[in-house]
Amino acid sequence: MIASAQMKPEDVKTFTLKNGMKFLVVEDFSIPNANMYLFYKAGSRNEHQGITGLSHFFEHMMFNGAKKYGPKAFDQTMEFNGGANNAYTTQNVTVYTNWFPASALEVMFDLESDRISSLSIDSAMVESERGVVLSERSTGLENSPWRVVIENIYATSFQEHPYHWSVMGYEDDMKNWKQSDLEKYFKTYYAPNNCVVVISGAVKMTDVKRLAEKYLEPIPAQPEPARVHITEPEQKGERRIMLQKDIAAPYIGIGFRTPETKHEDFYALTLLSDILTSGNSSRMNMELVQNKPLATMVQSSLGESFDPNLFLLYAVSADATKLNELEEGMYAVIRNIAENGVTETELQKVKNRKLMEFYGQIETINGKSDNLGTYELFFGDYKKMFNAPAAFNQVTVDDIKRVAGKYFKKSNRTVAIMQKNVD
């Protein structure tokens, strides 16, 4: 392994093909491997009722055969050449990830170009793959109660915007997707101009560019997909959901409506999330898990999102008879911050954490590709990845206090409680 100096913004080379497909490339020879991440701006927010779950299903169908590499040949060819792959779908994007020995770079271009230019949707494959995604949905539900809790929070907090339904989709829609739905979806969203490609590893920029021009530039651009035009109306009043499941300890999930990733408050909200729940010394962990103990765990999350989304808080109750105390305790912690703020030391602590996270993100070739793509799509520019530690450093204690007061109001929250007995 060659010890290399820390990555800098100028280490990322970029170019855009004539059809609008953008490339980010990082030459990194630390291991003899490389990756290729393809980010499509297509997720469950691009669906409508009747085709819910189709983005995720499509992610599966992208492995099921095209013109040159027919059914199964995509995976067989990739694995024969030492490569592995995966893919994931979110509310906002669908991402394809290929990991391979660098010598197989051209194979990856050939495989991707084939399925992007000429996917063939085989009806027998559609049927067997439908079984696969139904099993994926089922095993998620079988093994974690959180999925139901979170799906219910989204379904209740979002009443008009497509974040209302889950990425997996409604079971009845899953059983009902038509061939024509798939074909239309493919043509609309799987266009080179709707995709950002990130490649990191033991490859040369000149080779990447040559192969991209050969394999991907001939694919024609498509009209821009329709904009997601629905804006969720402001929430005016707390919404509560009770869920019954035979579980040992009650679960509580709370979603507060918060803005999209590009919003100026995103950095402050992200730091607030860490102040609340990252590490044993975080406010909620200390107060509700370590000291009291009302919960066995508390967590929070604020994912990247194109449209306004949710700041989520989760807790597992340590004492079912004190569930109310736990919920009130969570609100009290935030109210305290909104009223009294946080200390400089506390803020510095979570800024230090962000710097360590940044190092973690650039330590591997996969971390580099994943994060560069994420910043390019959600923050509008991959360079913002390098600015992230500085952007977090600019957040002040007043910013934290302000966002704690602004977004964490009772009228802005949706609460889901899952327990053994409900009235």
Binding site: P71, A73, A84, S135, T139, N143, D246, N280, S281
Partner: protein
Amino acid sequence: MKSTHIIKTLMLAGFLFSALSISAQYKLPAYQKFKLKNGLTVYLMEQHEVPVINVSAIFPAGAIYDGKQSGLASLTATALMHGTTDMPKKALDEMIDFMAAGINTSASKESAGLSAKFAAKDSEKAMQIISRIIMQPAFDTAEFNKEKKRILIGLEQRKESPRTMSNSFYEKLIFGAHPYGNVVSGTVQTVEPLTTMHIRNFYNNHYYPEGSAIAIVGNFKSADMKKMVTRMLGSWKSTGKKPANPANVSFAPVNGNNVLLVNKDDARETTFYIGGTGISRNNPDQVAIEVVNTYFGGRFTSLLNDELRVNSGLTYGARSSFQSYKNGGTFYISTFTANKTTEPAIQKTLDLIQRLHEKGMDEQALASAKNYVKGQFPPRYETAGQLAQLLTSMFWYQYDESYINQFEKNVDGLTVEKARQIIARYFPKDKLQFVLIGKASEIKEFAAKLGKVTETEIKKDIQ
């Protein structure tokens, strides 16, 4: 899908039959290994890609030493973080969090471990904390009681997830009363009576420098780090002990086909394990077995996943694995399927075991599996954290860098004929052991056709 069609398709695919030989040429970076006077083994490896340092420490204090007190090793490892003799837990937590360091302690089946990650600029303070955690844990009673309460709730919650429970049921079925059958996390019944006195005794008996190792990998100068680690861990008192290995006894061979049917009343699917005994970690055929298992159940296009997922849509995924310890291990096929498709999914799995034994691997399948295993090898040792774990694993299982550096050569050495022998010798085909977690009333009748059935409930403690 018809196989003739596939072959035709593949012939057209230009890259598939090209005389490609994947050669990743990955070599382990240089490192040094030495022993402190107290017997502690130390590994140092410099890595300068990011200004971060990773630590992995290993202690002869895993669940095999639990005796009848399942969960004791696990709780002891967890309780190492409950403060030190000179710093209460709260201050320790604050200090670790302020550095944005991660320090975790846990026990596995055979050993206990500490892993840590911190900024290079904090190395003095972080190494100080780590050495205190290892050498001077406080085992505070109030913190322990709170932890135990959380763990007891967690043990009940585990029973809600077949995926979490399946391996514990399976190892109990394969190993029985042997120490490898012990449940690492413990059970409600065995954890309930544990006190700090038990924890302290366990710590005194099983944490000592002669049986332990620490690997430090990252952004430092080896000469400086050697001085620091000697200064900080050199005072850990040696005991003159040699680690006893209670697992160094043979376990009863599996006898006939056995089915452990675990009822879960609200199950929407059946989660199952099928297999038998496996291999020990130092088996000389380990690499060859990995290549064959890649073909059978170790990747997306494996026989298992191809048949159960791609061809039939019965599951989201199916795989096979070897879980290996010092003195033995398990082999298992694992997957899940809807209640009503339990029978065809298991039947197909059994057919594939027969097919593996009858047909073995042909040249093309072997070439593909070899390329895949070699191509996916380097990213396993890309980060400082992965390398630190590798070094303590080398200490525990007594192997050296030739495992890494000879890996490709060992992969390449496998032939179709050798693969046939590997299959016959290591892949169980009869006396199969089954764990089925699902709705017993719907799958009981079929289970009886597979072997001798023992029934239990997912909500009951594993005995």
